[in-house]
């Protein structure tokens, strides 16, 4: 009895152990050898520890950024980074175990919904499921849910999103790809459908509708070639300009013996390093779990459509990706200046979201509204995907998150569901 209590209170409470056990379950269900089960489980545990290390690096940089931004601009500057949110939730806030179990629950509910309803989609983008698990767990916890209820509600909501989002996108995906065998598994779908709607309203119609694919656009910009380079391109000028506005006197109190501008530069690189380490941890963590559970899912629902990551659509409309990226960035920058006028935080632009979500949204905008639809739809989309995360900033601040907000709008919508519906309902009863 004492041994069991020891295991429950000291070992199973450790998030890294829970995650390793989930991986172990998946590997055993796949009938892997003992060696593979042990090494896979240990690698998963290692992935969680690496993720935690990355999170600590990010938090250090964001804390510094928050201080110089507030000093320089007299308001809170928020960096949109689902990675930073996930890292802090799993590590600093101690929700790692609940997030891991919710991650598993989302897979299970996805399988159940696909198996027993006509919505036959299996969501294969593991990283997106992890972000959804993070948001449902964080906001479920904020709403007052704990333990099994937290995991099951989060798993159910995540599972519904994992099926509903591909289903909502499918009429568009069918037209974009010319086939029905593949679906879209990216938790920014509400934004895509929103842009499609705006583009249909304001875009070109009938014979006047011209596609952006008929245009000859300049070749891709070099800085987009690497994820970390893309983040650096925004972070370095952002930190340096902010430090300049904060002033030498204040900024030097934070930089010690190092020149305050140099320190700002190093801190911006530190943010990128933190993201690099965290994402390496995420990849290691998911490397065993995702193949195991998506294999099980596909075998249990063999006639389900695989919902793949957003690059699946890029080949069908490559110019629209570039137009979408540029116009979404414009929309994000507009929102950055407009939202504080209405009392919301200043959300700084996120390059990765602008490229992947903005690019994909551009494909939807071009489909329903041609060139004008893609351009106007893109700008409105950029505004929309900045507004929704801005609504969560107060909640994130009160929970102890440092100067960050989430990005992917479907995960933000799930969080708003908790904040505006589930939380108040629970308080009422």
């Amino acid at each position: 009895m004492g041994v069991i209590n020891f295991i429950i209170e000291n070992i199973l409470t450790q998030a890294s152990v829970t995650i390793a056990l989930i991986a172990m379950l998946g590997l055993i269900l796949q009938k892997k050898s003992t060696g593979q089960v042990i090494s896979g489980s240990l690698k998963t545990m290692l992935g969680f520890m690496v993720l935690s290390a990355g999170s600590s690096i990010i938090v250090g940089s964001l804390t510094y950024f928050g201080q110089i931004f507030t000093e320089g601009f007299q308001m809170q500057g928020i960096i949109p980074s689902i990675e930073a949110i996930n890292g802090q939730a799993m590590n600093e806030l101690g929700l790692g175990r609940d997030i891991a179990l919710t991650f598993l629950a989302i897979f299970v509910f996805n399988i159940l919904i696909a198996r027993f309803t006509r919505w036959k989609y299996i969501f294969l983008t593991g990283q997106a499921i992890l972000w959804m698990a993070t948001m449902t767990t964080v906001f479920g916890y904020f709403a007052g849910l704990r333990g099994l209820a937290l995991i099951l509600v989060g798993g159910f909501i995540g599972g519904v999103f994992a099926v509903a989002m591909p289903a909502i996108a499918q009429p568009f995906v069918r037209k974009i790809t010319g086939m029905d065998e593949i679906a879209l598994g990216h938790f920014c779908t509400i934004g895509y459908v929103f842009e499609a709607g705006v583009a249909k309203l304001v875009g070109e119609k009938g014979e006047k509708k011209k596609s952006v694919e008929d245009l000859k656009l300049p070749p891709q910009l070099e800085f987009l070639q690497d994820t970390y380079l893309s983040v650096m391109v925004v972070m370095v000028p952002l930190y340096i300009i902010t430090a300049a506005f904060a002033g030498e006197e204040f900024a030097s109190t934070l930089s010690g013996d190092t020149n305050y501008i140099m320190f700002a530069f190093l801190q911006s690189i530190q943010f990128v390093v933190g993201v690099y380490v965290l994402l390496s941890g995420v990849r290691l963590l998911l490397a065993e779990i995702v193949p195991a559970f998506r294999g099980i899912a596909m075998r249990l629902v063999p006639n389900a459509k695989p919902a793949l990551d957003c690059p699946v659509l890029f080949p069908y409309s490559p110019n629209a990706v570039i137009v979408g990226f540029i116009t979404t960035t414009i929309g994000c920058v507009l929102a950055m200046f407009v939202l504080p006028v209405f009392g919301l935080a200043m959300i700084l632009p996120g390059m990765l979201t602008a490229f992947f979500a903005g690019g994909t949204a551009g494909i939807f905008g071009n489909l329903t509204g041609g060139r004008r639809g893609a351009i106007i739809g893109g700008i409105v989309h950029g505004f929309f995907i900045t507004l929704l995360p801005a609504l969560l900033v107060t909640a994130f601040n009160s929970m102890g998150f440092v100067n960050a907000t989430a990005t992917d709008v479907d995960t933000v919508s799930a969080a708003l569901l908790y904040a505006w519906l589930i939380g108040p309902l629970l308080k009422a009863f």
């Binding site: 796949q30 009938k31 006509r118 919505w119 294969l124 509903a164 289903a167 909502i168 009429p171 790809t177 086939m179 029905d180 065998e181 593949i182 070749p219 891709q220 910009l221 070099e222 987009l224 070639q225 690497d226 193949p291 998506r294 294999g295 596909m298 075998r299 063999p302 006639n303 695989p306 793949l308 990551d309 690059p311 699946v312 890029f314 080949p315 069908y316 490559p318 990706v321 490229f355 690019g359």
Partner: protein, 142 residues
């Protein structure tokens, strides 16, 4: 729940969806005429001779053409092999990429139906790799 244009509901609760799905399944198998088959075989032997005489981008293009012909002839495994060689020689997201994605998905679905875990994982991994190719090409990574 509001009805969309065209009469079918967004979440597929409309009556028309089942009929549409049945129609889509039957149009996948296209019957080749004898003339078309002969034309394809001629193209195939010609391209197979050319492919070993060139390298780099040109070779990638010819492997892609061979792969597309093999796919139309119904030789899926050989088509996959050729299209993979094309993308290895030069990453691209043209017809070859799209055909390869379709073929991988078909193989994945077949493996799932017969509970073949090894093949299922193999083709899921290949689809992951295609996603990376798509990302790389769109971002201009050589």
């Amino acid at each position: 729940m509001r009805k969309r244009e065209g009469g079918s509901m967004m979440f597929g609760f409309g009556r028309k969806k089942k009929v549409k799905e049945q129609k889509r399944e039957t149009t996948d198998s296209v019957v080749l005429t004898i003339e078309r088959k002969e034309e394809l075989l001629r193209t195939l032997s010609q391209k197979k001779e050319e492919v070993n005489q060139v390298s780099g981008e040109e070779q990638a293009k010819i492997y892609e053409e061979i792969g597309l012909v093999l796919n139309e002839l119904g030789e899926e495994d050989h088509a996959i092999d050729s299209l993979e060689k094309s993308i290895e020689a030069k990453k691209s997201v043209g017809d070859g990429f799209k055909t390869l994605l379709k073929l991988y998905n078909k193989k994945r679905a077949e493996a799932a139906k017969v509970n073949d875990e090894e093949s299922l994982q193999k083709y899921l991994k290949k689809m992951d790799q295609l996603m990376q190719v798509s990302k790389d090409v769109t971002r201009g990574v050589r």
